[in-house]
């Protein structure tokens, strides 16, 4: 049991080489190699869109590679489905737990592979295995009979891990496991991971929080633009060096030089807090200014945006619009104040899938569709829609097309158009170019520039490093629900990433 150190460096548990994956002409992975030794924690890092999740999906059997090979314990194997992957002992714990909230912890762990005695489920045998599993993932044995819906998110994640282990895990993939956890919960998670690797399980650990890698990872592989750049023992690197490798030598396009015609302060937050999400955030946005709010997943930046928009009431501090304190109960009252928001998740929060483009553009400002209150004039609707289709260069044969038939970039422009129908005083954009191709991304950035130069105050919440540097006049970095640092646009990507990922001066040595 204690020969793990010896095993490290011999035959890799799993080895991917020369992986290529294309989605409809876009290369998600150009060339990726990954070799994971038994009993180690192998971190996989890279910016959004670098290809991490695609690579993981290929290993988990959820996607099939176009080219490349896979070896398991030195033997060539083929993974064409999730069943193949499970058969090899490759288990994945996704960010969103796939659990049954009404069933007990024990049942969640064993569902679909119940141990049986006759037609009965063998509760005693399951209980025995549960005991050791719960022990391994650091949960109290008493929790086995609790209903999963009653547990905290962190406990649910531990249950997900237990579920993965019950299926004989030899490779455990953890996708951003720490994003939703508090610091104390992360400590528990790390203890679990250490216990697992001690028994020879290989862990592939994906995270944006670079600082924590030094506490848990043995080896790190860095991806950039669909390629694996390098694989190094973690001890050879610092947070800053990893950030540099992630970003590469590419210079971020600076903000096209701005004639800063700053107006009055439109939005001001004074020590605003939302329990469990962010605390004591103070910032302001002026007319004609673009402020970038940069934060990684789980940083609280998204919640700051939705609180400004009235989706939830802050639990502390206050918010001023044009110098006047306001309490927003719901988005409609935010819109009355001229605050509009482009939500992050287009399909869930933004688009009305089988409705027309015209419907999607005008739905937020129905009162503009006729001079008579409560009335809708088709012509007004059509004119507004056509106007924005032209202004934002939306590619579509007609405004009557359903939005579901459009590409990501065009659909995003339609949802963006909705926020512009009634000229906003403050426009909040959350991940404005997520899932959008490069061309449309540049167009959307130009639209944002134009809006600001027309005097709109813009707050862009993003986890895209290139984007925040490309469009912001000022960059505010959010980490763990607090403002970590404020940068000017001449900051480097490395500085920003390091601030967001948790470089705390001089405390980078591995534990």
């Amino acid at each position: 049991m204690s020969n793990t150190a010896e095993v490290v460096g011999s035959v890799p548990r799993v080895e991917l080489s020369g992986i290529v994956k294309t989605y409809g002409g876009v290369r998600a992975i150009r060339n990726a190699d990954l070799s994971v030794a038994p009993g180690t924690v192998h971190a996989l890092v890279g910016e959004n869109g670098a290809g991490k999740s695609t690579l993981i999906k290929i290993l988990a059997g959820a996607e099939r590679a176009d080219a490349g090979s896979l070896q398991f314990n030195g033997e060539p194997v083929s993974i064409t489905s999730t069943t193949d992957a499970l058969g090899l002992g490759v288990q994945t714990v996704y960010q969103e737990p796939q659990l049954f909230p009404e069933l007990s912890v024990a049942e969640n762990v064993f569902v679909g592979r119940e141990l049986r005695r006759g037609i009965r489920v063998d509760w005693a045998a399951q209980a025995e295995q549960m005991n050791s599993l719960l022990d391994t993932v650091g949960l109290d044995v008493g929790i086995a009979t609790r209903t999963v819906g009653d547990l905290s998110i962190a406990q649910q994640q531990q249950v997900s891990i237990a579920k993965a282990l019950a299926g004989e895990a030899r490779v455990l993939i953890l996708d951003e496991p720490s994003a939703i956890l508090t610091d104390a919960e992360i400590d528990v998670l790390f203890a679990v991971i250490r216990r697992l690797t001690a028994t020879g399980v290989s862990v592939i650990y994906i995270s944006h929080r670079l600082d924590e890698l030094f506490r848990i990872a043995d080896v790190v592989t860095i991806m950039r633009d669909g390629e694996t750049i390098t694989t190094r023992p973690i001890g050879e690197l610092t947070v800053r060096e990893i950030a540099e490798l992630m970003v590469g030598g590419v210079l971020a396009e600076p903000r096209a030089d701005v004639e800063a015609t700053r107006g009055d302060v439109v939005l001001q937050l004074d020590d605003m807090s939302l329990a469990g999400s962010f605390s004591e955030i103070s910032l302001d946005v002026r007319a004609g200014e673009i402020v970038g709010l940069y934060g990684l997943i789980g940083s609280g930046a998204g919640e700051i945006a939705s609180t400004i928009y009235g989706m939830q009431r802050p639990t502390g501090g206050r918010m001023l619009v044009r110098g006047e304190p306001v309490v927003l109960r719901r988005p409609s009252s935010a819109k009355k104040r001229g605050i509009h928001l482009l939500p992050a998740n287009r399909s869930a929060q933004g688009s009305f899938s089988f409705q027309s483009i015209a419907f999607n553009i005008t739905i937020g400002e129905l009162h503009l569709l006729s001079r008579i209150k409560g009335w809708v004039q088709r012509r007004a609707e059509r004119d507004i829609a056509r106007n924005f289709i032209t202004r934002l260069a939306v590619k579509t044969p007609s405004e009557r097309q359903p939005i579901s038939a459009m590409s990501g970039g065009n659909a995003q422009k339609v949802v963006l158009a909705r926020q512009l129908v009634n000229r906003p005083e403050l426009l909040v954009l959350v991940e404005p170019t997520q899932g959008v191709d490069v061309g449309a991304k540049e167009e959307i950035h130009r639209i944002i520039d134009d809006l600001a130069s027309e005097g709109t105050a813009v707050l862009v919440v993003t986890s895209d490093l290139g984007e925040v540097l490309r469009i912001s006049d000022r960059i505010i970095v959010i980490r763990s629900g607090e403002i970590a640092h404020e940068f000017t646009p001449d900051a480097t990507q490395v500085e920003i990433l390091a601030a967001a990922a948790g470089e705390t001066h001089g405390s980078e040595e591995p534990s």
């Binding site: 796939q98 049954f100 007990s104 569902v111 037609i119 005991n131 044995v141």
Partner: protein, 336 residues
């Protein structure tokens, strides 16, 4: 792989890893029923006599019996509003067999159950494999079943049903030691179903499907056959329940035998604490729900109130039962 566990094996092994066998909601229902019975006993002294309780139990039997199947279905997040039509068809076929063809009782009951099974299979297959919303499909099949039932009826009633069915009836021949046979059979079925839902993989999978169908599929649960099973089981119980309905009545069966029964069954299931959204439910709750509904029906009559007032109480009970559940759920979510 379990080295770590062994080294800490001093902790006690979990013996029972299921939720408790009886839920809080069921205890509350028992309490409500007890209070109602005591109150009714005070205001109409005859209520607690065997001659009042026995017919009550006979009327509970078919609702609770079919409710067991409906509980399975609703646990999978489905619904079956065709049971009224299915009851009518099974009942009339059984009655005709007994009256016109003189078949032995056991054969008639078996034919009824097989027929019910076939009807359930039709529903289940359309729903599981046609991927169509259960309520719409079963609204459709309800009409179709009703059509066939009316064809078999021919005239408006079936008369002269022989007394062999009295073994499930409300008379003396329908009881042993004072317990109505139909109710005893229902209790037996409830216990088997309770055991099945608790202790077998198939039973637990019904909960998994209703809780998160996609996750269940990913976990290797064979979703479609399990769903079909829930509808088939309901069909078979409808077949037996139809016999109970005939026996609970007179020697004449009329066309209205199934009308509105689907809603009565669903009401019993919902009052019993089964979530219409799927993933949670219990057959014991359904039995208690059926007893509560029939107690209200019987009590209203015995108090000399307009009998139709009973439905008002049923509606209110549904709102209270589901409403408290919603509030509890909301409290739970805000805690998490």
């Amino acid at each position: 792989m379990t080295a770590v566990a062994h080294e800490r094996a001093s902790k006690p092994i979990v013996k029972r890893i299921l939720p408790p066998p009886v839920t809080g909601q069921e205890l509350v229902l028992v309490g409500v029923i007890a209070v109602l019975w005591v109150l009714l006993g005070i205001f109409t002294p005859s209520f607690l006599s065997p001659s009042s309780i026995q017919p009550l139990l006979v009327s509970v039997a078919p609702i609770a019996l079919i409710g067991v199947g409906m509980t399975f279905i609703i646990i999978t997040a489905g619904i079956d509003v065709s049971v009224g039509g299915a009851i009518a068809l099974c009942a009339v076929v059984t009655a005709k067999l007994l009256v016109n063809y003189d078949v032995p009782l056991i054969v008639a009951v078996l034919v009824s159950m097989v027929l019910g099974t076939v009807l359930g299979l039709i529903n289940g297959t359309l729903i599981a494999y046609g991927r169509v919303h259960a309520i719409i499909i079963t609204f459709g099949t309800a009409n179709i079943f009703q059509f066939f039932a009316l064809r078999v009826f021919g005239s408006s009633t079936v008369n002269g049903i022989p007394s062999t069915l009295d073994v499930f009836g409300r008379g003396e021949s329908g009881r042993t030691l004072g317990v109505p046979h139909s109710f005893a059979i229902t209790i037996l079925v409830v216990l088997i179903a309770w055991w099945y839902l608790r202790n077998t993989a198939g039973g637990r999978h019904l909960f998994a499907i209703g809780g998160n169908e996609n996750a269940a599929r990913l976990a290797g649960v064979k979703v479609q056959p399990r769903v079909v099973f829930a509808y088939v089981a309901t069909g078979a119980l409808v077949g037996l329940g139809a016999c109970f309905f005939i026996a609970a009545g007179t020697s004449t069966l009329d066309q209205g035998v199934g009308a509105g029964r689907e809603l009565a069954v669903i009401a019993a299931v919902v009052i019993g604490g089964t979530s219409i959204l799927g993933g949670r439910g219990s057959v014991i709750g359904t039995l208690l729900g059926a007893i509560l509904v029939q107690t209200v029906n019987s009590g209203v009559t015995q108090l000399g109130w307009p009998s139709q007032l009973a439905n008002l109480f049923v509606g209110i009970f549904i709102i209270i039962a589901v409403g408290t559940d919603l509030l509890r759920e909301r409290a739970r979510r805000s805690r998490a």
